[in-house]
């Protein structure tokens, strides 16, 4: 009974989650006339690829699409570098200072986004004023907070800590340095976790809204996530295709990495 209830509840939740995606998907195959009409309909009367073909000429969309790719990939690469290094440090260092810093990291992770936004604004102002480097209204303004996100450090630190201690010792006996241990042993061993982290980071940075709105003023530097609203207002006949194109990388990535993410979450949960 309890299992059935859970199953039913799961189905309902799945349906609720999938419904917008399916709705968008089906609308993306509607023709412009049906899309613009005010009569509610779920299924396309005529299956049409018109929206997909037309959006190819919407160069603004793909310009911002590229922006989103740049922001996401940059964030992922940056965060990987930072997170792997920091996580390795925290996992291998047993000092009180390291623990204290890691505690701060964990504390920052639980802070709401809005709180860190304000501090980021202060930071960028300070950098511009005292160092002379302008970060506002550049892609770095949204990339850097993602790069220094504490979530990756936390997850990788947990994973690196869970690795068998023998591996480290054998490597040290063989005369490997920390960098060699990290690159030759730790990273290959934790590639699934890293991939899962990358996937999560990608999803987060791909869907970025608030940071971009606050830090970027030039429309040409916006991520595509900010453009969907404009697309709905001005070009509704291509909006649904645009939405599908927007969510496509996320869905694809999720489908490709769902097992790895699940394993990482399970692993972390086990460690924690």
């Amino acid at each position: 009974m309890k299992k059935s209830l859970i199953k039913i509840l799961s189905v309902i939740i799945v349906v609720l989650f999938l419904l917008p995606i399916v709705y968008t998907l089906l609308h993306s195959f509607m023709d412009a006339y049906q899309v613009k009409s005010y009569t509610a309909s779920f299924l396309p009367k005529v299956f049409s690829l018109h929206q997909y073909l037309k959006i190819t000429q919407k160069m603004e969309f793909f310009k911002l699409y590229i922006n989103s790719i740049v922001i996401s990939v940059s964030t992922i690469i940056g965060q990987l570098i930072i997170s792997v290094g920091a996580a390795y440090f925290f996992s291998r260092t047993k000092s009180k200072i390291a623990n204290a810093i890691f505690t701060i990291y964990v504390f920052l992770m639980i802070l709401p986004l809005q709180i860190t936004l304000i501090s980021n604004v202060f930071l960028y102002n300070g950098i511009q004023r005292y160092i002379g480097i302008t970060i506002f209204d550049t892609k770095f303004a949204v990339i850097l907070p993602g790069v220094f996100s504490t979530m990756g450090v936390f997850f990788l630190k947990q994973f690196f800590s869970s690795m068998p201690e023998n591996l480290y010792e054998i490597a040290r006996i063989d005369g490997a340095s920390n960098f060699q241990i990290l690159t030759k042993i730790v990273l290959p061993y934790s590639k699934n976790s890293i991939f899962a982290l990358c996937a999560l980071n990608f999803i987060e940075s791909w869907n970025i809204i608030e940071q971009a709105l606050i830090f970027i003023n030039t429309p040409s530097k916006y991520p595509v996530s900010l453009y969907l609203n404009t697309l709905y207002a001005n070009d509704r006949d291509v909006f649904y295709a645009g939405s599908i194109l927007f969510i496509f990388p996320v869905i694809y990535l999720v489908m490709k990495s769902k097992e790895k993410i699940k394993n990482m979450i399970v692993e972390n949960r086990r460690i924690v």
Partner: protein, 569 residues
């Protein structure tokens, strides 16, 4: 199974999505090559406009006196021998008016009036002659006749004043004012008895003796009365005769004269009865018509001779005057003028019978004969001649200018704006490619619609031109304007002309999602000046000029639209 199908479908769909994304990015990457390329120019904020003006002028006569001949009444033209812009030699028949509308009734009336005029004219002539006789002077114009001058009396022959009957300030009492005598010859009357009569004949020379004068003086019998008259005693009959003889001295009438017949210069026989000097041979009475013609009181206002004074023929003897005389003259003048008025009115009646045929705005040598044929003695340039056969009163039949070959000019009509910008020296020629000769402005006339300007024309500079030939005048003006662009950068509404409107496409860099892009902005402008290659424009007042230099599209074609993205060449 279902999962496999789903997997396949999802793979296909993902592949499709990938294709769309790649296609979109390809389009994005080649967008720079698909945007229209335009060339641009910068609006010159203080640009030069050189405007070349080509004006058409006509060689015309420098004689500005235009004679305009108009119909004084409704009339028909039976024949026109000239045409507009023709040069007509003097004496050539210009046109013929139809005079057939003069009806017989009118002609009869005209004859009657002419008779009346003739009669009245006779009366007038008589009155004038009478006045001339009375006033003793010739009257050429009655208006110049001065009544206060009175009457002057002149000597009618050479001689001596005799029996002068007037004196200054005294009333004239006789119509004979004086006699003018020739006292060199005497008329002597004599008598003959019946015995003497047969021996005496007319033309016979006789010898005369005068009391107080010694010797004999010659005489000649000039007349004999053959009819005998009884003597005073009535005993016998006597015959009378007249002898003409030279005055030996101061012999005057009444003196007794002895008469003898002669033979060979010697006394043959002395007549029984002596003769008597009757008068001088020539005796002219000086009379005045004033006295004889009226009962006026005439006074001698001036007497210029004295008794016995020798005068010459035509010499003024005296002046007569007085209130009665002045009144008489005034009344005569009034009568003459009244008569002249009567005749004038009769002539007007004739004119009114037909009306005037033609009117002229100025004097001319224009002549029309009785048949209606019109000619002019001058060589003329016909500016206009009526082509239609029937004309209404006041319509122009002919407008001409006396041809003066020595003072030809170039004339043309231009508007006020052109006139104000036109220099006083311009190029001119017969075609646009041969305009090396300059000419100077010599005259301007202002009209409601513009200006008629005259330029000098000299045969030595541009030979071969004759009246009414066309010439082209050229001048250029350089001016500076605020916004100057090439003509190719404007899309005119209508033709490119001062005051007309048009559109220009301003290129502005706009910040867009795709970055900075060049976007066209359609702006309405007003053309302020037109040069040969450039135009000066004025933007609408609501146009906000964001930059100092406005870049606009050059070589506009119709594919440009407001808001279009373009690439600058």
């Amino acid at each position: 199974m279902m999962m496999r199908i789903f997997d396949k479908i999802s793979k296909i769909f993902f592949a499709f999505i990938c294709f769309i994304v790649i296609l979109g990015m390809v389009f994005l990457s080649i967008r720079n090559y698909t945007t229209p390329i335009v060339s641009s120019v910068v609006v010159s904020p203080n640009g030069k406009i050189e405007s070349k003006y080509y004006l058409n002028g006509v060689i015309s006569s420098g004689n500005n006196k235009v004679v305009e001949v108009k119909a004084a009444r409704d009339m028909d033209i039976s024949d026109v021998n000239i045409k507009t812009d023709q040069i007509v030699e003097g004496g050539q028949k210009l046109f013929v008016l139809d005079m057939s509308k003069s009806t017989s009734d009118k002609r009869a009336k005209q004859d009657t009036i002419n008779d009346e005029i003739y009669n009245e004219q006779l009366k007038l002539d008589k009155m004038i002659k009478s006045l001339e006789k009375t006033a003793n002077r010739q009257i050429n114009n009655i208006d110049n006749f001065n009544s206060n001058e009175g009457v002057s009396v002149y000597a009618i022959s050479d001689g001596k004043i005799k029996n002068l009957s007037i004196s200054e300030g005294k009333k004239v009492t006789d119509n004979i004012i004086s006699n003018i005598i020739d006292d060199n010859l005497l008329k002597i009357s004599f008598k003959m008895t019946g015995n003497e009569f047969p021996n005496i004949s007319v033309g016979q020379k006789v010898l005369l003796t005068f009391t107080g004068y010694e010797g004999y003086y010659d005489g000649e019998i000039i007349s004999i009365n053959p009819n005998a008259v009884p003597d005073k005693d009535k005993i016998s009959f006597l015959y009378n005769g007249v002898i003409l003889a030279k005055n030996p001295g101061l012999i005057s009438p009444g003196v007794s004269v002895g008469v003898s017949t002669q033979r060979d210069g010697q006394v043959a026989a002395t007549l029984t009865y002596s003769g008597t000097v009757e008068s001088y041979s020539e005796q002219s009475p000086v009379t005045t018509e004033v006295y004889s013609n009226s009962n006026m009181d005439i006074y001698a206002t001036k007497v210029l001779v004295i008794e016995g004074e020798t005068v010459k023929k035509g010499q003024k003897i005296a002046e007569l005057g007085g209130d009665d005389l002045i009144n008489y003259f005034n009344e005569s003048i009034k009568s003459i003028k009244d008569k002249q008025k009567v005749i004038s009115n009769l002539r007007k009646d004739i004119n009114e019978l037909y009306g005037d045929t033609l009117t002229f705005n100025t004097e001319s040598s224009f002549k029309m004969d009785d048949d209606g044929a019109c000619k002019i003695s001058d060589k003329i340039y016909v500016e206009y001649v009526a082509e239609k056969a029937s004309l209404r009163e006041g319509e122009t039949i002919l407008r001409y200018r006396v041809y003066d070959n020595s003072s030809m000019q170039i004339k043309l009509m231009i508007d006020a704006k052109t006139y104000k910008s036109m220099p006083t020296t311009v190029y001119y020629g017969t075609d646009m490619w041969n305009m090396n000769t300059t000419t100077k402005l010599i005259g301007v006339k202002e009209f409601a619609k513009g200006y008629e300007v005259s330029f000098e024309h000299d045969e030595k500079y541009l030979a071969g031109l004759s009246l009414n030939d066309n010439v082209i005048l050229k001048f250029s003006i350089e001016d500076r304007f605020e916004n100057v662009i090439p003509k190719s950068a404007i899309v005119p509404i209508g033709r490119i002309a001062v005051g007309s409107s048009g559109y220009v496409y301003i290129i502005s860099q706009e910040e867009s999602i795709l970055g900075d892009v060049d976007v066209l902005s359609e702006k309405r402008v007003t053309i302020k000046a037109v040069g040969n290659e450039n135009v000066a424009i004025e933007f609408d007042k609501n146009f906000y000029n964001r930059g100092k230099d406005i870049v606009i599209v050059n070589f506009i074609d119709s594919t440009l639209k407001d808001g279009m993205r373009v690439r600058l060449k």
